[in-house]
Amino acid sequence: MQNEPTSSAPGLAGTPANSSFDILHSPLGSPQQGASVREVNDPFHGDLLEVSMGPHHPSTHGVFRMVATLDGEIIVKLKPVFGYLHRNHEKLGENTTYLASMPYTDRLDYLAGMTNNWAYALAVEKLSGQVATERAEYVRVIVGEMMRIVNHCCLVGFLFNDLGTSFTPLLYAFREREKFLDLFEELTGTRMMYNYQRFGGCRVDPTPEWLAKAKALIDGFPRFLDEYEQFLTGNEIMLARTQGVGRLSPELAINAGITGPVLRATGVGYDIRKVDGYGVYPRFDFRVPIGDHGDTYDRYMMRILEMRESVKILQQAFRDLPAGPIIDPKAKNRGLRPKAGEAYGRIEGPKGEIGFYLISDGSTNPYRYRVRPPSFINLTVLEDMCLGHSVADAVVILGSIDIVLGEVDR
């Protein structure tokens, strides 16, 4: 394995060592810009080749770069490089009021804005000691689980794109996603940037017509899923390309803080909806799918099974949705000044644990606003999963982790 820096690396040698921050220029500095392919001189391995995939590459789901060192076609080292979309979201959060950060959270994981909103609302409610109304908690479950279905539809479609079935499964998935987005548009006014949750409830109350439409859509969804699975799940190419590819051990997954479907595919039954039981989740009867092998196929199946469980939760939520106010009339949103203190609130997002850590100093803006991004932390094990596989498999493994660069880079 190639660990030593090459002496040809420009810009690293000759940096004056004059401050404690010289670790910035440590020899492990990121691989160099410039030529995207260069040979690594290592007498012990044949011809190792360093390939920079990305940042502009269709397989990287955004501006994301993988610096892979290859022995033939086999990956022997892989370093993810990101930050191209970095806009210091956390600093923006410190410079605005609590409520004004709500629309920004949509831009983190822009495929699942509703759950970002929810996690942030939950953290602020913990910080300020507010409680959402019961109807709002049910509506949160409804929109949150619909969001999970939308997200998993996208993921499965893009995963098949990465496998080489150019766009057909993706367009099937997007056709379904479109129906959900239409509903979200009717409810919130926007298709992706919802800004829907408030501290103590939700912004608007869904009408009975909206609920009827949503219920009809959910009732028809398992039929689509059956049809979709019939084409994809047993597909021979799919099995050959995903089974045993990108295995992750449960021990490493826990230690590396992996959450969401990627963790559960390894056989660890950790779902925050069950563990924390936030909102009204303890009232619903649903199961947490768990994988056996922790490979790409299991990660795909987790998404399919979770969509089916989401349908079960949604049907119960539509049945039990209570009447009442959608937002606590005494809820404080504008000009909220929580007492000095701190709170960490987290929910089970479609990609894993999305959490917000807030410190209040008693003023209108948070003193510290931190996002715990699931796809950022799930990338920690990308190298471990890719070692020993070919470049084409690395594309599929990355696709199965489910990252959104808006959240990774913040």
């Binding site: 810009g11 404690s20 921050f21 670790i23 910035l24 220029h25 440590s26 492990l28 500095g29 990121s30 990101f82 930050g83 970095h86 210091n88 956390e90 600093k91 913990k126 910080l127 300020s128 000691g129 490493l252 826990i254 230690n255 590396a256 803080g257 992996i258 959450t259 660890v268 950790y270 563990v275 929580p338 007492k339 000095a340 203190g341 701190e342 709170a343 960490y344 987290r346 644990e353 959490g355 850590y357 410190i359 209040s360 003193y367 510290r368 931190r370 715990r372 950022f376 932390i377 990338l379 920690t380 094990v381 880079d409 913040r410």
Partner: protein, 219 residues
């Protein structure tokens, strides 16, 4: 799960003389935290991970907080003897400079026992030259990218981190943007309709209309 005081007692029983302080959280969330000294921080972290009654095997969130030095004005009432022999209460203000520091905060959960969070904190000596902390990446791999991010945005140097380099900003970047005293660089791109803060900035970059510099450069 044990209370934070019980966890502190467990640690002190295992590591006599270890610096462990409970930091109370006055907010409604009541997530109290443990402040660890540097010397045994990694041993204590290992103990928290492996102790059968805690099993905090999942470090969910690691982040930094910047606490710049601040002036604290304390008002005390002092009795001052008056010329006529009586005593009078007089307010006396004393200014005290609270030194600044950087802080790393870790939120620990247990996947095995399904409890948490336990919050631990580490503090640097100051914000300028004593900014190193022991890295907890050898204990929880999930800190790998998060500690790199703290190093990048706050400037805390984690001793023992396997690959400490910038992660979100580019390698040549010099400052730490999440610090409270960070000043954004004075770079300005021409805008057709500058307003508010942008207008103020624009004035610093372009000569005012009618000034000599403009006349020379213009027609």
């Amino acid at each position: 799960m044990q209370s934070i005081e019980q966890i502190r007692d467990l640690i002190v029983a295992r590591f006599p003389g270890a610096e462990v302080t409970v930091i109370q959280n006055p907010g409604p969330a009541a997530q109290h935290s443990l402040l660890l000294g540097h010397a045994q921080a990694r041993d204590i972290a290992l103990f928290l991970r492996d102790e059968p009654s805690l099993k905090l095997d999942f470090c969910s969130n690691a982040t930094g907080v910047d606490w710049p030095e601040k002036e604290i004005v304390e008002t005390t009432k002092v009795k001052v003897a008056q010329p006529d022999g009586t005593e009078k209460l007089v307010e006396q203000k004393t200014k005290r400079l609270q030194p600044g520091y950087l802080e790393a905060v870790y939120h620990l959960y247990s996947m095995a026992l399904k409890h948490g969070p336990v919050v631990i904190r580490l503090r640097t000596g100051n914000r300028t030259d004593a900014v190193s902390l022991p890295s907890l990446t050898p204990v929880w791999r999930s800190c790998e990218f998060q500690e790199r991010e703290i190093f990048d945005l706050f400037g805390i140097v984690f001793e023992g981190h396997p690959d400490l380099r910038r992660i979100l900003m580019w390698d040549e970047f010099k400052d730490h943007p999440m610090r409270k005293d960070y000043v954004e660089p004075d770079d300005y791109e021409w805008e057709p309709t500058p307003h508010d803060a942008v207008l103020t900035k624009a004035k610093g970059h372009y000569p005012a209309p009618g000034s000599t510099a403009n006349a020379e450069g213009g027609m």
